[in-house]
């Protein structure tokens, strides 16, 4: 199992080691508490890894593609629309054309698993204080230069250790560990859409919800079909300029904005994270444009998290985001009329708490990744002024 320890709330999380994961996912009925979480596991030698994995058990025909002439295919999963020749893979590295049929190579091929507080995703308006059984496969359909989990997201599946975890096994593991939610996270769930959909179905049948942490870089039809099965969605909106998406993300902004609008129309509970990278996307005008767009297209009640950047991967030359920069971003978004603007990756900052936009009283207090106080009533209203607080607050 691979993955990276995170210092704060970010997609990168410490995975369970290989042995613990197997116990957790497949056998043990005991709940796995935070104290039992192991340090990042050292991968077994790749040779034995490759030998231990049967490619066939993870290989299923992909759902989102069309066949072309000369045994080529066009992937319809993400806006990239890779045209893939025989024996080649798409940009994500986890889908392969074999004789004109496109396959996902990562169905049930879990390379990272962990039990995380839901606040770590972060989802602040979704079942606070609960945990999520969080899983990932290899692969990603973009290549962010700041990725904290690049060792799994930018790898092909055969390069990293993984375990077979069927959708039903994932649902059972969540139940066994008292997690009301399965989270698809760490790498990019768009690229394991089929597994996500099947696992969400298995989870719902067992009474377990599903949430996804995603870049939102996905085609409309795939989005509706795959994320339609989710109970909540967190979208990483990397910036508010196309140039940033081109240079830093290797993707496009427009489809991500379209995803957010579609999720809104679908009625999916959605929160947005904006990683503030010094000098690259921390301009006042960009913050203002973002806030105005969110308010106009999604409404003022969508939570917006400005999170702190830490140097990683190919962006090691930049400093950590200064807290005043994050506070400036929040002030601008507040001034534009957004009701729930948070600051993330800064433990102890008061902007991690939820306040009633009407009476200004604190409703959810958070310390680190723990929701230490939840005052919102069962009917999702403020106990002080009865203002409706949007979100999914109680199971």
């Amino acid at each position: 199992m691979k993955g990276k320890s995170a210092t704060a709330e970010c997609p990168a999380c410490t995975p369970i080691d290989r042995r613990s994961f197997l116990m957790c996912a497949l056998a043990s009925g005991a709940a796995l508490g935070a104290g039992e979480l192991a340090a990042p596991a050292v991968a077994v030698p790749l040779a034995s890894c490759a030998e231990s994995q049967s490619d066939a058990q993870f290989t299923f025909e992909a759902r989102f593609y069309e066949k072309l002439a000369n045994r080529k295919i066009r992937c319809k999963l993400c806006p990239r629309e890779c045209i893939v020749g025989d024996k080649e893979r798409g940009y994500c590295g986890v889908r392969e054309n074999r004789g004109g049929v496109y396959y996902t190579l990562v169905h049930s091929r879990v390379c990272a698993a962990h039990i995380d507080p839901i606040e770590k995703k972060p989802l602040f308006h979704y079942l606070p204080g609960t945990t999520a059984f969080s899983i990932a496969t290899a692969g990603c359909n973009v290549n962010c230069k700041f990725c904290q989990n690049w060792d799994i997201s930018q790898s092909r599946p055969e390069e990293i250790p993984a375990e077979y975890v069927s959708p039903h096994q994932a649902a059972a593991a969540a139940l066994q560990n008292n997690c009301p939610t399965i989270a698809y996270t760490y790498s990019e769930p768009v690229v394991f859409a089929e597994y996500l959909m099947d696992t969400a179905d298995a989870g719902h049948a067992a009474g377990v919800r599903s949430i996804v942490v995603s870049n939102g870089y996905i085609q409309h039809d795939s989005l509706v079909e795959a994320y339609g099965k989710m109970d909540a969605v967190k979208i990483d909106l990397k910036a508010f300029t196309e140039s940033y998406y081109t240079k830093v993300v290797t993707g496009q902004l427009k489809p991500v904005l379209e995803t957010l609008v579609t999720l809104r129309k679908m009625g999916k509970w959605t929160e947005i994270v904006y990683l503030v990278v010094p000098t690259l996307n921390d301009d006042d005008a960009e913050f203002r444009g973002l806030a105005q767009w969110v308010k106009a297209n999604l409404g003022p009640d969508v939570p917006l998290h400005f999170t702190q950047f830490h140097p990683e991967y190919l962006l090691k030359n930049l400093p950590i985001t200064p807290v005043p920069t994050l506070e400036r971003a929040k002030a601008i978004a507040d001034a534009e009329g957004l009701h729930y603007v948070y600051i993330g990756n800064v433990p102890g900052h008061p902007a991690q708490n939820t306040y009633c936009p009407q009476c200004r009283k604190m409703l959810v207090e958070r310390v680190g990744f723990t929701a230490s106080q939840l005052l919102i009533r069962k009917d999702s209203t403020c106990p002080f002024c009865r203002h409706k607080i949007p979100g999914i607050w109680h199971a």
């Binding site: 040779a47 490759a50 045994r71 080649e88 940009y91």
Partner: protein, 341 residues
Amino acid sequence: MTDLSDQSRRNFLTQCLAGAVACGAGAALRAPAQPPPATKSCVAIARDPMLRGAGMDLDPHRLAALLDRTMLALFGSVHATATSNESILAVWRRIAGPDDTVSLKVNTLGGRGISTHVDLVAAVCDRLQRAGVHPANMIVWDRDTEEMERSGFRIAIGGDRVQCYGTDRVGYEDELSAWGSVGSRLSKILTRSSTVLINLPVLKDHDGAGVTIALKNMYGAIHNPNKYHPNGCDPYVADLNMLPEIRSRLKLVICDATAAMYEGGPGFKPEHSWKANSLLVSEDAVALDYTGWQMIEHKRAEMGLKTLEAEQRAPHYIATAADGQHRLGHCDPSRIAVVEA
């Protein structure tokens, strides 16, 4: 002659001298980054219409002779005869010697139809051995061991013989190597087990990149080649070849154009392949790629196909590799001397 195929491997092994190299052992770089290319680069091409005799299979002896002719032509020994052992050894001693560990990067993605031929690799190993390189200090490699086997290579790990396996057996470096648009983990075979790199690509069309020859063959040395196919692989191919771990080791390119593809690549499409019965050799991967590209264009014209430019998939990465930021070689035809051997 060295033969890495199943049939004659035993014979070859009995000829090998004692000694071993531990896979994964550290290897010091032999030279710092290469200087800017010379004012003119040479690409030697040799053809043998009788390479396959009357049948379909390559004649290994003729192939070895073709290799010798090409190498002698490249290094200026045009007046020497192909049977002049001393001339041939002198040429190979310019590439590697007894203190070197030589990695031979083949291309086996296309299976038996369009992969670096085992007999060519065997001939190269044979000549390196005669030049003083210990057999166990030669590693024939590509990305994936199974693909190598499917292309006719017999896997060999350990012992006093030429090593032969894919990166999947030893993995990639944990640390990233980065240049320009590229950030990748490199094969440990390249970084830890070689002081000299010989690139042995094939000559073929590529639906995205235009052509795939020497420069793009290095995609098989990194963990994330799928990330570098947008925009016709430009500038990714050039940036990848700028990585010091590659650039400092690369000494020679021997392109196997015994069979080639002018359309439909990179997967093997027999209907779009032709028996070019040729080898291209150069110290300049850019010049060799440019020359190979022209061969493919010539064949495309012969077959009534549009140019790659007309199909909007010309391999612009070759020019990028030659630009002022990269200076990996020459792609200006006035600066490429094509020597017909």
